[in-house]
Amino acid sequence: MTEQQGGFELVIDSVSKSFGARHVLRSVSARAQTGQVMVVAGPNGSGKSTLVKLAARIVRPTEGRVLWKLDGRELSAADTRRVVGLVSPDLNFYDELSAIENLRFFARVRGLGTTDSAAKGAISSTATKAATRTGSHESAESLLDRFQLAGRGDDLVGAYSSGMKQRLKYAFALMHNPPLLLLDEPTANLDERGIALVRDTIAQAGASKCVVIATNEPEEVRLGDILIQLRA
């Protein structure tokens, strides 16, 4: 899982975002590559979450643009979905399904773990190849193990504690081995064990992925190679 996923670049170019009269971001620019950790810091309401969502391509900028490049090539929306992994406080899973059912559903809907990986090899997009090479995605069970949820896979997510849900989010974000990992408040709701797990995950990912972290925790801010400071 630590193979180089080389050549990914995230470019945020003079991006502004407003929701009606509320201006959340004004002309923010940043750039990060594989092997780099970018930290976005700032007080509450300064737009950290919005910036992360822009980088995840689930929010559109009001002005400016965001580019996702793999090996120099700009990615389409469909390809971007394959290269992005997001952990966010606004992420929720299906409470009426178990953790395993949730992960299996997302894997199926992402096109992972189907038997026709040969068909995937025929798809020309390098992003697709990178994400779906056989063996580069884990089974739901092994993901649960990795994130300290072993044995709780059959429990309904509705019964999960907030710490367990947070760890499940990591399983969700990393299941397809994305070159871009976006973490909004990475250690929210986690105990010491969970925080250590997250630090390990970031350390591992930092070498082979492009990581963006939105946080106010000083220990996490330290992890960054690049710092973006937002003002309210």
């Binding site: 469909a78 009426e96 809907v109 096109g111 189907t114 068909a119």
Partner: protein, 227 residues
């Protein structure tokens, strides 16, 4: 876009997830069936069945089916937004897969309603349809038409504020061409010989309407689903 076999897997994954969620919670189906049966009961005991012509009977049936659709077919999208699971779905699934999966779910749901309502309707109104085969076709294609036009509107409504009444207000004008063809075909099926020839045209119109709605929805869905 992914190859078609992958797309089918993804569509079916969305459908299976929606069916499983629905089975576990049973929100939509119970609300819809309750509404449908209540409406049928009201119609049935407020009007003497023998005083109604075939066209009025047909209209009543489709009014009940239409409003059942209005109470049930927005659930699939509204639930994603209310439970805030839409973000995860947006990140993982292609918009086309989401739309087609939920379309299939709506067809299934509306189909289940029709399977209960139509026979119950025939029993309560004491109707022996002159052309039962035609009635089945009209019910099937009409169900397809209702689901085809409602699904994208359900998506639109799920992204707006006042979800309840807005769905029916938006859906009615768009659904009307399909609805009127279904009513006419059903009238012919209940009534008999009159207008049998024209009915093939009505059924074809229903099918064409569904295809048009689905094709247009596929083109437009991305703009609704993604900001």
């Amino acid at each position: 876009m992914t190859s078609s076999s992958n797309c089918a897997h993804e569509v079916l994954a969305v459908l299976a997830k929606d069916l499983r969620s629905e089975y576990r919670t049973r929100y939509a189906l119970s609300a819809v069936l309750l509404f449908a049966v209540t409406a049928l009961a009201v119609v049935s005991f407020s009007v003497s069945p023998y005083s109604l012509e075939a066209d009025a009977q047909s209209a009543f049936l489709w009014i009940v089916l239409f409003f059942s659709a209005m109470s049930g077919l927005s659930r699939s999208f509204v639930r994603e937004e209310e439970a805030r699971t839409a973000m995860a779905l947006r990140l993982a699934a292609a918009p086309e897969a989401v739309y087609l999966g939920k379309l299939l779910f709506n067809i299934t749901l509306q189909g289940a309603v029709a399977i209960v309502v139509v026979p119950l309707f025939l029993v309560l109104m004491d109707i022996a349809p002159a052309h039962p085969g035609l009635l089945v076709w009209a019910a099937v294609l009409g169900t397809l038409a209702l689901a085809s036009s409602s699904t994208i509107i359900a998506a639109v409504v799920s992204r707006a504020n006042a979800k309840g009444a807005l769905f029916a207000v938006l859906a009615f004008p768009v659904t009307l061409p399909g609805l009127s063809s279904a009513i006419r075909a059903t009238t012919a099926a209940l009534q008999g010989a009159v207008g049998r020839v024209g009915t093939a045209g009505d059924l074809r119109a229903l099918a064409a309407y569904s295809v048009l709605m689905i094709a247009t929805s596929l083109l437009l869905f991305d703009f609704v689903w993604n900001d």
